[in-house]
Symmetry: C2
Subunit: 347 residues, 2 copies
């Protein structure tokens, strides 16, 4: 039995997803295999093969030419737009890996892709933060009405499976507040500034390693963190979609090496923090740099590592962190989400 996957978006996460698939013979103990039948990009071509696209060839062709359609493959089709693949193709699961832009309120083409798949009752997994942040409830309602699952664990704290944990293990403990460092790029940049690097240098390094957004200003200005925070607020705290502008979003641009060093000398650390807190009066969100005291559980995290602290009513404070926060881990989250879908189907 194979699971036929369509993949719009071939950036860092999409490529790493293909690398993960290449290494694995099968999805799990059931022996089911994932077959990539379609890949589509906005400006680098598209490729469809009913028999499956050979992953090694695809990765190599894209590496050499930057195009996904530079693969010579008998019987394949080139140039089909993503939306047509999703609407008319023969596939089982959509893996939506395009990117959006929260600051510009840009949730397309990701949102249309997901909607088109769910309307055909095709399950969706995604790493598209802006589309999930801005269209969470619309996608969720469509998923319910079509009785078709969608998962988005590839969007937040991918170094440690987090959203799933909170949803399945913490909901009954009654979550009251959340705080987290959610941008690996910001963590990395802040640590590099202390070591004497310039902001531009640090950002270039972060981009080279694949962790930064294609436009790294989104990281530095706090928009990437804000997108993740909006997902947490909707998915875990059941809040309506927060309006952009209704909560503070500050970045790390104004921080100097002197400020960061002073914090470190006192044993603490400056981090870009994302917060949700709930009270009877309502919920408050914020994104901004904060000085964490040495006793704060997130002050111990180094380099790109992200972490989250959840305050619950029944179990007090729970802290979760995972080393690193790479596109490979986001790709692993997509694969985990596909496993969840396959397991639910087997029941």
């Amino acid at each position: 039995m194979t699971i036929r996957v369509v993949l719009p978006g071939f950036g860092n996460v999409g490529r790493n997803f293909c690398r993960l698939l290449e290494k694995r013979d099968s999805l799990d103990a059931s022996g089911r295999k994932i077959l990539l039948v379609g890949v589509a990009t906005r400006e680098r071509g598209s490729l469809w093969s009913d028999e499956g696209i050979p992953l090694g060839k695809l990765l190599e062709a894209e590496r050499q030419t930057r195009r996904v359609d530079a693969v010579s493959l008998p019987g394949c089709k080139k140039g089909i737009p993503a939306l047509d693949m999703i609407r008319e193709g023969n596939y089982d699961i959509l893996a939506e890996c395009t990117s959006g832009n929260l600051k510009a309120m840009e949730f397309e083409p990701g949102f249309s892709h997901m909607r088109a798949a769910l309307e055909k009752r095709k399950p969706v997994v995604t790493s598209n933060k802006a589309a999930v942040a801005l269209k969470f409830w619309e996608i969720d309602e469509l998923s319910r009405s079509m009785e078709t699952p969608w998962h988005y664990d590839g969007t937040v704290v991918v170094g440690a499976p987090f959203l799933d944990y909170a949803r399945t293990c913490l909901v009954d403990a009654k979550m009251r507040a959340f705080e987290g460092t959610l941008s690996s790029t910001c963590n990395y940049v802040l640590d590099s500034l202390i070591e004497g690097a310039s902001l531009d240098q640090a950002l270039m390094d972060a981009q080279r390693s694949g962790m930064a957004e294609s436009d790294p200003r989104l990281d530095v200005e706090g928009w990437d963190t804000a997108a993740k925070l909006m997902i947490v607020a909707q998915a875990l705290f059941d809040l309506p979609c927060p309006d952009l502008g209704s909560f503070p979003v500050k970045g790390i641009r104004g921080l100097t090496r002197a400020m960061l060093s002073e914090a470190r000398q006192k044993g603490g650390k400056i981090r870009l923090m994302a917060r949700v807190s709930c009270s009877p009066e309502g919920a408050e969100l914020s994104v901004g740099p904060e000085l964490l005291p040495p006793t704060h559980p997130l002050s111990l995290l180094f380099g790109p590592t992200n972490g989250a602290v959840i305050l619950t009513e029944s179990l007090s404070e729970i802290c979760l962190s995972g080393t690193g926060n790479s596109p490979r881990q986001a790709a692993f989250a997509l694969l985990q989400d596909i496993r969840k879908i396959v397991r639910m189907e087997k029941r």
Copy 2:
């Protein structure tokens, strides 16, 4: 709809379980209520009521007289042994809260209670560490063959739901090693020694707060930690039951205030660590005090708080901790395990 529960064992966890039930109108949004129909102790009497035991009365009577049968209740039965209740009573779930003793290889009466319930196809939840550590696979096989669930999340790292997290979210990431501080009593005692308390003083405080075992030597000598480690090894790493004596179990008795202070001055911390590591040659377990460097994620935990670090193949290192580690949290874990059973039944 009510869920009828039998509770053998009325120590710290059992009492806190009743307090939690007393506060809640219903188990969850489904509106189902938990009815305590039987409570049994080894030396403090037993009580059965088909209509349910009033929790406030039970807690108050036990507080005043130390006996659970000192409740005046029309139509109740007194003096029925736990095993007879489990074999012949009309109930839905067994909440096994007696205690055992790993050092003495004492897994009774807990093991017989769980076996009797599963043989009647009655689901089991338990906080009995010694019985689960020593009889894990026997209980697990019986549970499978009778197609009846058992859960034991009240045994390890109760401050943060941990076993369930590892089983559901981390299994596919391939766990390779585990390290954790698993004894809240040891954490608390080590921190108290630094502050100048004597071992006996610190232990008495820990007992008064309800976190220490009834025989606190089991904590101090590492046996409580060893029991939890054996559960982790079997439940998460699929290892056969480790023989006592096949792995080192060292306690914290030899540690002096000077040693602990020296570690703290260097920014680190001494903690009683439990470890599992897997290699192609096999798995190794150990329990013993270790000096954690200031960069170790568990070195930041204060007071009784426990934490665990899991090394995985696909996601590198994941760290989870929850503030505190109290009998109330163990009781909450039992309640969560009951919820899991009820949810699975509804499907």
